[in-house]
């Protein structure tokens, strides 16, 4: 319930305010989006498995976004930003796929 309210508030804020993403943050937006999707899918799966935990959700989301951002930042400064971005996106997509598969098994038993 609280999660749903939070999601609605967030979407409304994002669409209505349309805060300008500073130029130095823009390379990290796609990474953050994939990390956010990963958090949502992971949380949905945990809810269906009946093991959802607020603290795990918060901490895992924050740490994933931070680590992903840090990796890309580091990669940018080492001159391999594009490759590390790809790596981060691949790993997060993998998690999203695994979680989506679990959700699918729950919902459709298939």
């Amino acid at each position: 319930m609280i999660a749903a309210i939070g999601l609605v508030i967030g979407i409304v804020l994002g669409v209505v305010l349309q805060p300008a993403v500073p130029i130095w943050l823009q390379p990290y937006l796609p990474i953050a989006i994939v990390a956010a999707m990963d958090a949502v899918f992971g949380a949905t799966r945990a809810l269906l498995d009946d093991v959802f935990d607020d603290r795990v959700f918060v901490v895992s989301f924050l740490s994933n976004v931070l680590i992903a951002g840090l990796l890309v930042f580091l990669g940018d400064h080492l001159g391999v930003g594009a490759q590390i971005s790809t790596g981060v996106v691949v790993v997060l997509s993998m998690r999203i796929f695994a979680n989506a598969a679990a959700i699918r098994r729950h919902l459709f038993k298939a």
Partner: protein, 321 residues
């Protein structure tokens, strides 16, 4: 084992399958297991953290959708900006061209006012008229030939290298053929050609006098229609064009017309020009005001004759006008 993996058609997909079978996102499971070991069965609530994180997550996702143009490739944006600038520049060119045409007609009015009343002036005026017509400086009317060429019907519009596309060379071919056949004035899609007009390709458009024109290309030539048509068909250009039609499917249509209106060329830049001295300018403005007021014919005549002599001096001292 090796044999099995070789025969398994989906062997290359094993990595993906393994990764999906593994519990990749298992933070929640580990946490639940630990809770079970510690004996605390109820899940921990952390309302504020959950709310804030959910807001963050949703906001990032919403931003991702809303700010699509922020991550849009820079090249597309740059292209759009360039298109806007090109259109503005084109509008400015159109405006300047209109201004140029207006100024030119004022100049020729002034010229005829100056030279109107003397025999020498009339002779100069007649020569000027012929030269201006040849140079594309004035609009001309007369019978002539219209050659219309267009891209092949089966041309792929997005492919700049399609052989069915009319190229600058093809248009040049037709124009040169028409000059060769005795055309006195030529225009492409309403753009009058002069001796120095460029017909070039830029990207996928053909530029005439640095202005893009669109197919079908209508090339109008003033001259004796029957003579033009028969001469043109016999030129090497006419035969080369027939070949293009045969091999690439370009469409070419030749018709004669009894009345063609060709405008003056706008892009005529003088090769050299002379700025009249102050005394000449004074006579010119006097002649202009005299012709404007058009009062007593005596005063107008006298000022015109004095002006024509001043004009003559400009010609002799200044060289080519």
């Amino acid at each position: 084992m090796t044999l099995h993996s070789v025969t398994d058609p989906a062997a290359s997909m094993r990595l993906l399958a393994d990764l999906l079978r593994e519990d990749v996102g298992q933070e929640y499971v580990t946490a639940a297991k630990r809770r079970r070991e510690e004996g605390t069965h109820e899940q921990r609530r952390w309302v504020l953290g959950l709310l804030v994180t959910c807001v963050c997550v949703a906001m990032i996702l919403a931003l991702g959708v809303v700010q699509r143009d922020a991550t849009e490739p820079a090249a597309i944006k740059a292209r759009a900006a360039l298109i806007v600038r090109a259109q503005q520049a084109q509008a400015r060119v159109d405006q300047l061209e209109a201004q140029l045409t207006a100024t030119r007609s004022t100049v020729s009015d002034l010229q005829s006012a100056i030279v109107a009343d003397s025999a020498a002036g009339a002779e100069v005026s007649g020569r000027l008229n012929v030269l201006e017509m040849d140079a594309g400086y004035t609009a001309v009317v007369g019978p002539g030939l219209i050659v219309t060429i267009d891209d092949a019907a089966q041309m792929v519009a997005s492919d700049p290298g399609d052989p069915g596309r009319v190229q600058d060379r093809d248009v040049q071919l037709v124009v040169n053929g028409l000059w060769q056949s005795g055309a006195e004035a030529v225009a492409i899609n309403g753009r009058r050609l002069t001796a120095t007009t460029a017909i070039r390709t830029a990207g996928m458009a053909i530029l005439v006098d640095y202005k893009p024109i669109l197919p079908p290309y209508q090339i109008e030539a003033i001259g004796n229609p029957a003579l033009l048509a028969s001469n043109y068909a016999a030129t090497s250009s006419g035969r080369a064009l027939d070949q293009l039609v045969e091999s690439f499917g370009l469409s070419v249509d030749t018709t004669t017309s009894l009345l063609l209106h060709l405008p003056a060329a706008v892009g005529v830049a003088p090769i050299s020009a002379t700025v009249p001295s102050d005394s000449v300018r004074a006579t010119l403005s006097a002649a202009a005001s005299a012709s404007a007021s058009a009062g007593s014919s005596a005063s107008a005549g006298s000022s015109a004759s004095s002006a024509s002599s001043a004009f003559g001096s400009v010609l002799s001292t200044g060289g080519v006008l």
